[in-house]
Amino acid sequence: MDFSFSEDQKMFQETLRDFLTAEHTSATIRELWDSETRRSSELWQQLCEIGIMGLLVPEEYDGMGMDEVDLVLCLEEMGTHAFAEPVIPTLVGTRLLADLADKSLAQEWLPKVAGGEAILAVQYPESPFVQDAHVANLLILQKDGELHALTPDQVKLTRQDSNDPSNCLFSVDWTPSADTLIAQGEEAAKLSAEAFDRGALAAAAQLLGCGQRMIHMACEYASERKQFGVFIGTFQAIKHMCSNAQVQVEYVRPAVYRAAFSLANNSVNRSVNVSMAKLAAGEAAHTASRVSMQVHGGQGYTWEQDLHLWMRRAWSLDLAWGSKQMHSQRIASIVIDQGVPTAPLGESWLA
């Protein structure tokens, strides 16, 4: 029993932090918003050099063969920096391809993923849209319980602009065929469920970082802004709203880490653990948004102030990979209808 991260895992996070702090400022985000694809191949290359995209790629495909526990602090760090490049679908697609019974797609694509030459998009039934379909080199799509893999020339995309300009959503028109089919029946169901949980965990981790950052922004602003002759951070109203948000965010942390462990070990409670992480993270980030906005006052309502970059991230991450309400209903159905799968207070409930 040990909840702590290894030195390697923490160092990985620090490397990423240094990179994002230097290369991915709010000015970068605003520039990307004004760009054609809203995605940066330079940032993607650098990310791959750090090793993030090869992390989940098995060693036989030139990757590092590591797991979600190795990754989760990095995902959190991306949330801290409102980093929105298509990391989540690519990671989810990576494991999906690696886990296919037929290894040919993995052989073709995973070395490219590890090398930063391929981006993956993954559809899941809980959303009508596909994220980052416009920059994906391979799209893994679902229809009638089947999984299909398509190349960009095989799909027609319609852009669906989101409230979060960093969130690139598309409706995808496509036709399934025997050539595109990669899994069906039980295999497809299992892979699809795992993919969804993996995406949800990743989004939860980013929400955690994002929520914590918005609280810090609020505290910084409240320590600089004066009204009534004092820093507004001295007012209990401000203090207590920040504290309440912090309580929520703090309790998200272990839920996210536990969900990462559950995924890495395919625990029997994987789905409910992931849903808890995603729901709790979505709610905490929402509280942090509201509090930070209120602390910033009118300033927070301007385009110029950076807060909204993070608020929009929080909103779109909350809706991605199952919204709060979807996960809340999934938890209810597992906890109430199916009964908690472990014995009441006992056995390996933690994992």
Binding site: E126, S127, P128, F129, T158, R159, Q160, D161, S162, N163, D164, N167, L169, S171, K226, Q227, F228, I232, F235, A237, I238, R290, M293, Q294, G297, G298, G300, Y301, T302, W303, E304, H308, W315, S316, L319, S323, K324, Q325, M326, S328, Q329
Partner: protein
Amino acid sequence: MELRFTAEQEAFRKEAREWLEANVPKEPLPSMDTKEGFAAHREWEKTLEKGRWGMVCWPEELGGRGADLFDWLIFEEEAYRVGAPLRVNQNGIYLLGPTLMEYGTEEQKKRFLPPMASSDEVWAQAWSEPNAGSDMAAIRTTAFLDASGENYIVNGQKTWASRGCWADWGFGLFRTEEGSERHKGLSMMVFPNDLEGITISPIEQLDRETGFAEMFFDNVKVPVKYLLGEEGKGWNVAMATAGFERGLMLRSPARYQATARKLVDLYKEHEDTAPVSAREAVAKCWMKAEQYALNTYRTVSFLKAGGKIGSEASLNKIFWSELDIEMHELALSILDAVGEILPYAPAAKGLVGHWLDGYMFALAGPIYAGTNEIQRNVIAERLLGLPRK
């Protein structure tokens, strides 16, 4: 107590409904915080004026109907019922108008009210300054009388001037007494926005529209006749205006009742997929919109019987601003994954995205017109008698 409408009120409602159904533009107008939207909304004001619906409770000579506030509430209900455009001159007709009637000279009333009623002159408000937000008494923009005694010379900066980008006139609070502090030595003034020395710079807000502006004053000459109320007593005048803002007029109950009814419809459309908890939550929102309306009718009864409202306005401000957020958050949770799509995106089909727009706007509710934290202080100290220090 008689909570049924009179025959006259019912007849008034019928007339309003018929006129509105015949005259409200079939397509929603573009946002009033865009140049073309502002013009379109000003056009709508002229249409209202022609039908004598601009401010029904204003005297007939101002294009009103000399009706009472109950009729105004009824008119608002009917306007929201058919989805009439919002009021681009709200700073004028809802806030400055009533203040002028209370504090203005006869000359000022004659000069300002008719073109306000017709929206030939649209008004911006200019309270806040960069360092005087919640703390409005920290105002530093000065307006000192010049040697001739004919003009105030205004210097400084206002911010969050709503409608500041397009409006013709502005009103605000200025420091007229040198060396004065806090609530003392302030005066309320109106001014044409095109005076020499005024520079207006739009503030780009979350939705990238510019409903607000910064206003810079560089030795601007404002004639003394534009002083509203006594010199140095501006704080009281401003508080009266703020009372209108927080309280009765800025946010008529019909606005929230209309949203609540749309929310019920939205829920019914999505009943199969909405979270089970949404059902009671929707009903509760509907109830709160109803409570807000009831309280407004109660307040109007009280005013009609000769009562005055003061700090009670702070209760309203908290109630409507929190309700607005609650309703929009709930709607977005019912819409689930499509809730983030902008109105013009194909999948939004022109409707979904308006909940998002509404939510973005609602988020500002607990901030403008005095943050809800300020309102809670007011309630605690003035209504509940808790000690200041």
